[in-house]
Structure formats: structure tokens, C-alpha cells
């Protein structure tokens, strides 16, 4: 990988990872505090009002520090990924613009009512504002994930060779693609898990310290229920995502399993050497004997998919892509001077354009992402996520047995669940994004073709500046939040 490509990818990954520290807590903690305020409105019990206000305070700290951190990613599209932005900006820009105009303003309006409105508007109106703040944040996530899903599974567009841009044909196909719906559910519900794990961890800290006991116990119960609902939904969406990825991004699945040769009896690898027979076939196709292609099938051999489609090998696709690229260059050269020659070149291009993006790749090996990173990130995500689910289950069981206050082992486990849930979220994104390499847009544009012509030192400089700023923001958030937690007296 050349230096510019490495640095540009590194910068984008770093920005996205930092951004994803703030977002899931906003989504999940928002649900927990909204449920608590609803309990206050329904019961009239001031305990729930004070409890909801405390968690809203922590929500506010996270929101204030995290808000707009995603804008840096949008800067990077114009600076580091200008070819990408030119190529697909007409499609990719639409959901980002809707996110900015609709969802962000909705969040901003109702968050003001939520923080300034206590005692000034009715209880029901306040509770509605709190819910609408969270719904606004969730809608915001929807449009960002629509944009990301379109990169994973581009639909609803047509390539215009005259402008070298992809143009949107069907907005609803982009906004409500199968991939977008699944990704939205999986990602937002993982945010619920994060918010719930945060509340359980902070509350367990209070229980360990023997402080704010009633608030801590009742908060754990609410959070564990929200977390468990989020976990079940997240698992369901993860299952649907497995089938979707097997169909649209088979290389990602093969890399996540380290599967070299395809099989109708593909096993699921728990760790190297420990496998569950037929399980990968089932997860990928919902059929214990469904065919799952391996890396060799995708790069060199070609295969017949579970849906009985003949799929060319990567080598054959690259050969087709080079023909498309050559015809496209010819078209660009002739379109002013020789209309007939340009028309022939365009016809040649159209004959091979399905594999246009493959023409930018050096060889079939370039189609393989970093297998160890994807393989282990997937397993860490599952292991960490399962531990967090176990904590939610344990919390509800201990609450039922009236032992929530006395079980110190659970309190320490809950504290451990907090870094685990963040690690699971980060690893999930690593699987999604490293797993789809070398593509910036699956099958259309590899990352090396999406880059800007920049000096690597420029990208390095902005990466360092960005890393310093975001580390400072993270340190500020942790400091303010820990102080707010320590100072709180229920």
C-alpha cells in the first residue's frame, strides 16, 4: 500500500473510531433516560424525575463533547477523497444533507427544550421533548448509515460517462435498501447496549461505594431491560446482516471466517482449530448445506452462488474491468473530436461496465482484505458483546433475587462491561470497513482510485492535528463526566 493511501485510510479510520466513542452513548443513554422520564410522568414520583435529570446531565456532557465530531469526516471527503466525492457525491451527498438539515435541527431544537424546559413546560411536553431529542439523534444515525450502506451495497444509481459521476435514479432504493435497514438496526441497537452498559457500570460503581443505592439499583433494572431488548435486536439484525453480506460482499464474509476454499458444509470458526460444522453455511444462507464461497473461489476460481448465479472469478472481473477502463479512456479522448469513434468506445464501455471498478486493481490478490484483522475483530466483537449480554441477564436475575446491592463480583463485572461494549462497537466497525477493502464503494471504486493527489506529509499533518484535538476532547469528556458522577448525591 502506498504511503498516501495508508495515511488517508488511517486518518479516516481514526476519525471514525473517535466519532463512534460519542455516538452510541448518545443513542443508548438517550433511550434509558427517556424511559426514566416516562416513568416519572406516569407515576408522578419525584424519584424518577431526579434520576432522569442525573442521566440527562451525563447525556448532555457526552452530547456537547461529541457533537459535530463527524464533520471532520465530511471535510476529509473533500480533501483526501476528492475523486471519491466527484464519482459518487451526487448520491452520497443527499443523505448527509438530509441528516444535517432535518435530523440535526430536530435534535438541536428539542435538546434545548429538554435542558431548559424543566418547570417551564408541562411534564408531558417535557417528556415528549426528551423522546424527540433521542428520536432526532436516531434519525440522524439513519441517514449516516444510509450513506454508509450505499458504499457497502450501491443501488438506485446510474453512471454518467460524460461527467464521470454516478447519478441517483431511485432515492427510495438508496434510503430503504435492505442493507441500510439491517445496518441501521444493528448499529443503533448496539448503541442501546452501550448506553445501557454505561448506566449499569456507573450504578454499580455507586453500589460498590455504598452511595445513591436506591437510584443505582432502579437504574440498573431499567438499563438492563433496555440493554437486553437492544441485545436481542442487535443479534437478530446481525443474523440478517450475515445473510446480506454473504450475498453482497462475499469476500468480507470469507475474510471474517478465514475461509480459503468454499463449501456447502462450511463450518463456523470459533477460534483457529475449533469449528462448528455447517454453521457458517447456515449463518450465511439459512441453509445448513448452503454454499459459501472462499477467498480462492472469489479471487481465482469463480463459483455458483447459493442463489444459483454464476459468479466470475476476481481475475476475470479485473480483465473485464480493464476493457471497460480502456474503452472509457478512449471515449473521453474521442468525444469532442470523433463522435462515431466515441459512440463505439461508449458501446464497448457499456459491454464491460459492470466490472469497471475492477479495472483499477493490480491483480486478484488486491481483492483480499487484511484477513487476520477482520477475523479477530469479528470474534472480539462477539465475545465482548456476549459478555455484556451476560451482565444484563445477571443484573435482572440479581434484582429478582434482591441481591443486586450485595453482589460485589457483579459490580466489578459491570465495570468491566463498559470497556467491553465500546470494544465490541469498534470491532464491529473494523469488520464492516476493513472487511470491504479494497473498495471505497463495493465493486465500483477501489480506495486507491478514490484518493486525492496530495502530498503524504499534508495528510500526516492533519492526522496529527486531528489526533491531538480529539484526544483533548475525549480527556475533557472523561474528566467532566467522572466529576459529575463523583459529585452526585441522589
Amino acid at each position: 500500500m502506498n504511503e498516501l493511501l495508508f495515511l488517508s485510510r488511517f486518518q479516516f479510520a481514526l476519525t471514525a473510531c473517535y466519532h463512534w466513542l460519542f455516538v452510541p452513548l448518545t443513542l443508548g443513554l438517550g433511550i434509558v433516560m427517556s424511559v426514566m422520564e416516562t416513568l416519572y410522568v406516569r407515576s408522578g414520583d419525584d424519584f424518577w424525575k431526579r434520576t432522569a435529570q442525573f442521566w440527562q446531565k451525563l447525556f448532555g456532557i457526552n452530547f456537547a463533547v461529541g457533537v459535530a465530531t463527524g464533520i471532520i469526516l465530511e471535510f476529509e471527503f473533500g480533501t483526501n477523497w476528492s475523486n471519491y466525492s466527484w464519482f459518487v457525491g451526487d448520491i452520497f451527498g443527499a443523505p448527509l444533507a438530509i441528516e444535517g438539515i432535518l435530523a440535526f435541527f430536530m435534535e438541536s431544537t428539542f435538546i434545548a427544550l429538554m435542558f431548559f424546559g424543566w418547570g417551564k413546560i408541562s411534564r408531558k411536553a417535557h417528556c415528549t421533548s426528551t423522546w424527540l431529542t433521542v428520536i432526532g439523534a436516531t434519525i440522524s444515525a439513519w441517514w449516516i448509515l444510509v450513506a454508509n450502506s450505499w458504499m457497502q451495497n450501491p443501488v438506485g444509481m446510474e453512471f454518467n460517462p460524460a461527467t464521470v459521476r454516478n447519478e441517483m435514479l431511485d432515492f427510495f432504493a438508496v434510503a430503504f435498501s435492505h442493507t441500510a435497514i439491517i445496518k441501521f438496526a444493528h448499529t443503533v441497537l448496539s448503541g442501546w447496549m452501550t448506553g445501557a452498559a454505561f448506566v449499569v457500570a456507573v450504578s454499580s460503581w455507586y453500589l460498590l461505594r455504598g452511595r445513591n443505592l436506591e437510584m443505582a439499583k432502579r437504574s440498573i433494572k431499567v438499563a438492563a431491560i433496555v440493554g437486553l431488548i437492544g441485545s436481542l435486536g442487535c443479534m437478530g439484525a446481525g443474523d440478517a446482516s450475515g445473510v446480506d453480506i454473504a450475498r453482497t460482499q462475499p469476500m468480507k464474509l470469507a475474510a471474517a471466517e478465514g475461509l480459503q476454499k468454499g463449501s456447502c458444509e462450511a463450518p463456523f470458526s470459533i477460534v483457529p482449530g475449533v469449528e462448528i460444522p455447517h454453521m457458517l453455511s447456515f449463518l450465511a444462507t439459512h441453509d445448513f448445506n448452503g454454499f459459501v464461497p472462499g477467498i480462492e473461489d472469489i479471487t481465482r476460481l469463480g463459483y455458483t452462488s447459493h442463489q444459483s448465479e454464476e459468479v466470475l472469478s476476481g481475475e476475470a472481473k479485473i480483465a473485464e474491468g480493464r476493457l471497460a477502463l480502456e474503452a472509457f479512456k478512449r471515449y473521453r479522448q474521442l468525444r469532442q473530436s470523433d463522435p462515431e469513434g466515441a459512440a463505439q468506445a461508449l458501446a464497448d464501455f457499456n459491454a464491460h461496465k459492470a466490472y469497471f471498478g475492477y479495472g483499477y486493481l493490480e491483480n486478484a490478490d488486491a481483492l483480499v482484505p487484511n484477513v487476520p484483522i477482520v477475523y479477530w475483530s469479528f470474534r472480539i466483537m462477539i465475545a465482548m458483546g456476549s459478555f455484556v449480554v451476560l451482565i444484563f441477564l445477571l443484573a435482572l436475575w440479581l434484582d429478582y433475587k434482591k441481591r443486586l446491592e450485595s453482589s460485589r463480583l457483579f459490580h466489578y463485572g459491570a465495570l468491566l462491561a463498559l470497556p467491553c461494549v465500546y470494544l465490541a462497537g469498534q470491532c464491529g466497525w473494523i469488520v464492516a470497513e476493513v472487511g470491504r477493502q479494497p473498495w471505497a464503494i463495493q465493486g465500483l471504486l477501489p480506495v486507491n482510485a478514490g484518493l486525492s493527489s496530495l502530498a503524504p506529509t499534508n495528510v500526516l499533518a492533519t492526522t496529527l492535528i486531528f489526533a491531538v484535538i480529539f484526544t483533548a476532547l475525549l480527556a475533557a469528556e472523561i474528566r467532566i463526566m467522572t466529576r459529575a458522577i463523583k459529585d452526585h448525591q441522589a
Partner: protein, 53 residues
């Protein structure tokens, strides 16, 4: 007009009565200044795409 006045005073009172929120607003304003007045203007200038060539 009365509605606009009420909205104005709602926000004004909200900002006046802030306690820990002041610190957060300072962070937000510094962050937005750094992002838009420094990073965006001096470091993240849009680059002309070359893919059409």
C-alpha cells in the same frame, strides 16, 4: 410577537440559569472554532478531483 418574546426569554433564562452547562458551551464553542475557523480554512481545503482525466 408575544410568542417570539416567550421563546426568546425561554432561551435567555435557560442560558442564564446554566451551572455546569457553561463549561460545556465553552468546549462546544472552542471546538467549533477550531473545526471551522482553523481546520476547515487552513488544513482541509477541497482538492480538485482528477478522476475525469
Amino acid at each position: 410577537m408575544n410568542l417570539l418574546r416567550r421563546i426568546f426569554y425561554f432561551y435567555l433564562d435557560g442560558f442564564r440559569q446554566m451551572t455546569w452547562g457553561r463549561q460545556l458551551w465553552i468546549i462546544i464553542l472552542i471546538k467549533l472554532f477550531v473545526m471551522f475557523a482553523i481546520l476547515r480554512l487552513f488544513f482541509f481545503q477541497p482538492v480538485a478531483p482528477t478522476i475525469a482525466q
